[in-house]
Amino acid sequence: MSDDEILHQYLTCTMCGFCRPVCPVYRVFENETCTPRAIVGLAYGLLRGELDVAQASATARLSVSCRACEVKCPSGVEILKVIRWLRRSAWRQGIGPEKKRSAVEYLKKGLSINGKQPRVEQQEDVEVVLFTGCCERTEYAVVEEVFKQLGVSYSVVEQLCCGLPLLLEGLEDLLREHQQRALSKLPREKRLVTACPGCAYMLKEAGLEVAWLPRFLSEKLKLHQLKPVDQRVVVHEPCFGLRYLNAGEDLDALLRQIPGLTLVKPEPWCGAMSFCCGAGCGWELRQEGDGPKLIRRERVNQLRGAAEKVVTACPHCYRWLSEEVPVLRIEELVRMALA
C-alpha cells in the first residue's frame, strides 16, 4: 500500500456517497465524519499533510471492517485498503486501543490473540482438521457433536490465529511473518474446516484447502435423511462469509436443505447488504468506544422486526448477538434435523 495507491483510490472516489447509508458506523453515529467516503477524504488530508495521523485515522479506527461500503461502491474504490493504510499509519505512531495492541504483542510471541498457546492435535487418520481460530474449543462443542453424528473423523487445531487481525490493521509485514510461522504448523494435506468465516477467508487466501462450516455441512447432509425443524428464523448473514469469502450461497444452500424451516431475511439488510452485528469477526470488539454495541442494537432491531429467533453461521456473531437476543447456530439447526 503505497501513498500513490492511496491517492489513486482517492481520485477514483467520486464522493457520490453510495457507501454512506450502508455503513453501520455511519448509521449509528449519523455524522458525515463517520462515512467511508470521509475515510477516503481524510486519507487524502493525511497525504497532503493537512491532517495529522490521529485526526485522519479516527474514523478508520471506528470501522468494523464489514466491507459493505466496498461492495456497494460503484466506482470500485478499495476502501478497506484505505482503512488499513490509515490504521497502519496510526500503529506506527503508537495510536490504537490497548486491547488490540496487547493482542498484536501476543501474536508476535507466537501466542493466540488471547495470549494462549496454540494446540495442534497430530492425528494422521482423520478426514478433516477442525480449526477453531481464537475461539475456545467449548464453542465448537455442538460442531463436534454434529461431526460425530455425521461420522466425520477430525483432529482439532486450537488458538492458532489465522492472521485476520493483522490484515485488518494493515500490518502487512507482521502478517507475512505470522503466516510463515503459524500456518506452517497446519497439516497441509488435510482439508481444514472452520466455523469462522474470517478464518476460512484467511486460510483460503494463504492457499490452504479449507471449507467454511456451512459448505462442509451442506455437502455432508446430502447423504442423510433429515427431520423437519419447525422453526421460523431470521438469518444473520456474517459479513466475512458474505463479503470476504463470497460464500453467501453456501449458507443459503445449507439452510434450504433443512426441512420445515421457515427462513426470513431482514430486508433490505440481507444478502450482499447484510448488516454487520458490530463484532467485525471478534476483532473489532477490541475497539475503544461503544460503536460495536450501538451497531449491535441497530442490527438486533432489524432482525427482531423480521422474526423472533435469529440464526447465524459465525461464532463471533453468535457470541456477540447472544448478549441481546436468542440466537441459534447453524450447527444447532443441523443437530435438530439429525436428531
Binding site: 464522493m15 456517497g17 453510495f18 458525515e32 481524510l42 491532517l51 460503484p74 466506482s75 433490505p268
Partner: protein, 487 residues
C-alpha cells in the same frame, strides 16, 4: 459594542460558544477531522467549514439560524452531501447545518395522497415506508438511496420518472421553512390544489439553501405501477437514437422513462457491472408502466416500430422484475461507473447536468462529443432524453493544470451549445458553485430578480453564500478544487 467591532474570529468564537449552550458536545463539531470530512460533497470542490452542527429538531434549527444571523456567520444547510456542484459546501467557511438526523416520517395520509416528512429523510427510506400502501414519491433520482428529501426540494431533484410523473417541484404541496431572520413560516397547504396567491413553495424549490432552512415537507404521493415493460434499443448512430427519442415522446401512451447512453457510458457500465449492454453509438432505454400487463406491454409494439423505422440495430425488452432491476441498477451506476473509465485519467463532476429541447437531444450529444475531441478530454453523455435532460462526466488527467484548463473550456462550450439550442444550465442538479460561471451565458434579468428576492429574505447574506451566482458570477469554476493540482 456593535457587531462590526468584532473580528470574524471573535464572532465565530461567540457563535460556537453559544451553540455549546444549546447542543451537547457531540453535535457541535469543531475537530479537524470533522471539518475536513464536511469539506467534501460529490463535486470537484473542497471547502472546509469552521463548525458543523447536527440538528435534531426544528427548534434547534431555529436556534442555529438565529445565532448565525446574530453573528453573521455563513450557514449552509446540508442533507446527504450528494450535490454535484458544491451546493452543500461552506464556500466561505462558517457553519454547516447537518439535517440528516431530522429523519422522521411524520404522517402518511394515503386518503389525501400525501406524506409529511422531516427534511433529513432519505428518498429510498421514504419509498420503503410508502411501499406497503402501494404508493411512492416518484421522482427517483439516481442518488435516491442516499439523498435526502430536503436536498431534493432545495435542488428540485428528479430522475428518469420525471417525464411522466414530474420532478420534485410538482410534488411539493407544503413546506415549513425557517427564514434567515429566524421566522418560521408555513408555505402552501396539504391539499392537492390551491389558488391562494403566490406559490411560495415553488420559490423554495431549487433555492439551494440560499433562502432558508426547510424543516418540514408535505409531498404528494402516487400509486406505484404494478407492471413494467422495459426495452433497450441499440443504435449505430446517435442521431438515429435522438430521432427515435423525439418520436417516442409523442406516443399517445407516454413512456414512464426514456433514457439515453452514449458509447463511453455503455462501455463503462459494462465494465463495472458486467451488464452486457450492446456496445454501440447509443442506446435508448424506454419503459412503460401501468396496472396490467396489457397497459405496460401494449405500447411496446408501437415503440419498436418507431425504433425500427429509425434504423435500430437491436431492440430487446423485458417484463421480468429482476432483469429490469438489473438494467436500472446499471443505468443508475453510469455516473460513478465512469470513474473507472480510462487508465490514468479520472472522471470529474463537470458538465453534470444540462437541459435542451427534446428535439435537440441528438444534436447536443453529438456536439458534446465534438467538444471532447477538440479539447482532448473524454466526455460520457447519458440522461433522461425523454425530457431533454442530459448528463456528462468529463474524464482527464486531474493532476495536470493544462488538462483542467481544457476541461474548463470544454464545459464552457458544452453550456454554450445548450443555451444556443434553446436549453438551460441544469435540468435537475442545480447550479451550486460549479455551474455559476455559466450564468453569464443566460439573459441577466432573471438573475437580477433572484438577487432582489435574496436581499429581501436574507439581507445579511448568511444563507449558503457563494452559490447560484447571487453575489457575483465567478469567472471560472477552477476554485477550491479537491484535486492535487496547482492552477
Amino acid at each position: 459594542m456593535s457587531l462590526w467591532e468584532f473580528t470574524w474570529e471573535e464572532r465565530l468564537d461567540r457563535f460556537v460558544t453559544e451553540l455549546g449552550h444549546h447542543f451537547p458536545d457531540n453535535r457541535v463539531l469543531t475537530d479537524e477531522a470533522s471539518k475536513y470530512a464536511y469539506g467534501f460533497d460529490a463535486s470537484i470542490h473542497f471547502a472546509k467549514p469552521d463548525v458543523v452542527v447536527l440538528a435534531e429538531t426544528r427548534e434547534e434549527v431555529l436556534t442555529v439560524v438565529n445565532l448565525a444571523n446574530r453573528y453573521r456567520i455563513p450557514l449552509v444547510p446540508r442533507g446527504a452531501g450528494t450535490g454535484l456542484c458544491g451546493h452543500a459546501l461552506a464556500w466561505y467557511g462558517g457553519c454547516i447545518l447537518d439535517l440528516t438526523r431530522m429523519n422522521k416520517i411524520r404522517e402518511i395520509s394515503v386518503e389525501n395522497k400525501w406524506v409529511r416528512v422531516e427534511p433529513g429523510v432519505v428518498y429510498a427510506d421514504l419509498n420503503r415506508a410508502l411501499s406497503p400502501h402501494g404508493y411512492a414519491f416518484p421522482p427517483e433520482p439516481g442518488s435516491g438511496d442516499v439523498c435526502t428529501i430536503g436536498g431534493m426540494v432545495a435542488t428540485n431533484a428528479s430522475g428518469s420518472r420525471a417525464l411522466k410523473y414530474g420532478a420534485t417541484r410538482e410534488h411539493v404541496l407544503a413546506l415549513e421553512v425557517i427564514l434567515p431572520n429566524g421566522t418560521r413560516v408555513a408555505l402552501g397547504s396539504s391539499t392537492l390544489k390551491r389558488s391562494a396567491g403566490y406559490t411560495l413553495t415553488h420559490l423554495m424549490v431549487g433555492s439551494e439553501g440560499t433562502l432558508g432552512v426547510i424543516t418540514e415537507v408535505v409531498l404528494r404521493i402516487a400509486p406505484v405501477p404494478t407492471h413494467y415493460a422495459t426495452a433497450v434499443a441499440a443504435f449505430d448512430q446517435i442521431e438515429k437514437a435522438g430521432r427515435a427519442v423525439e418520436r417516442l415522446v409523442r406516443l399517445r401512451t407516454l413512456p414512464a422513462a426514456i433514457e439515453i447512453m452514449d458509447r463511453t457510458c455503455i462501455e463503462a457500465v459494462n465494465r463495472a457491472m458486467e451488464l452486457g449492454l450492446p456496445e454501440v453509438a447509443g442506446i435508448v432505454i424506454v419503459e412503460f408502466d401501468g396496472f396490467s400487463t396489457d397497459e405496460a406491454e401494449r405500447p411496446l409494439e408501437e415503440a419498436k416500430r418507431i425504433c425500427q423505422e429509425e434504423g435500430v440495430e437491436q431492440f430487446e425488452y423485458t417484463t421480468d422484475p429482476q432483469e429490469r432491476a438489473r438494467l436500472w441498477a446499471g443505468r443508475k451506476a453510469v455516473l460513478p461507473s465512469l470513474s473507472r473509465a480510462v487508465g490514468g485519467k479520472y472522471s470529474t463532476s463537470l458538465a453534470d447536468d444540462m437541459i435542451v429541447p427534446v428535439s435537440r437531444v441528438a444534436e447536443a450529444v453529438k456536439r458534446f462529443a465534438e467538444i471532447a475531441k477538440r479539447y482532448g478530454v473524454t466526455i460520457g453523455t447519458y440522461g433522461h432524453a425523454g425530457d431533454g435532460n442530459l448528463h456528462c462526466k468529463v474524464i482527464f488527467d486531474v493532476k495536470s493544470p493544462e488538462a483542467w484548463q481544457q476541461a474548463w473550456k470544454a464545459c464552457w462550450d458544452v453550456y454554450r451549445v445548450c443555451v444556443d439550442l434553446g436549453g438551460d444550465l441544469s435540468g435537475e442538479h442545480g447550479i451550486g458553485f460549479t455551474k455559476a460561471p455559466f450564468l453569464r451565458l443566460r439573459k441577466p434579468r432573471e438573475l437580477e430578480l433572484m438577487r432582489a428576492i435574496k436581499r429581501l429574505l436574507d439581507p445579511n447574506n448568511i444563507m449558503n453564500p457563494g452559490k447560484l451566482g447571487l453575489e457575483e458570477i465567478p469567472d471560472t469554476f477552477l476554485y477550491k478544487l479537491r484535486y492535487p493540482v496547482k492552477l
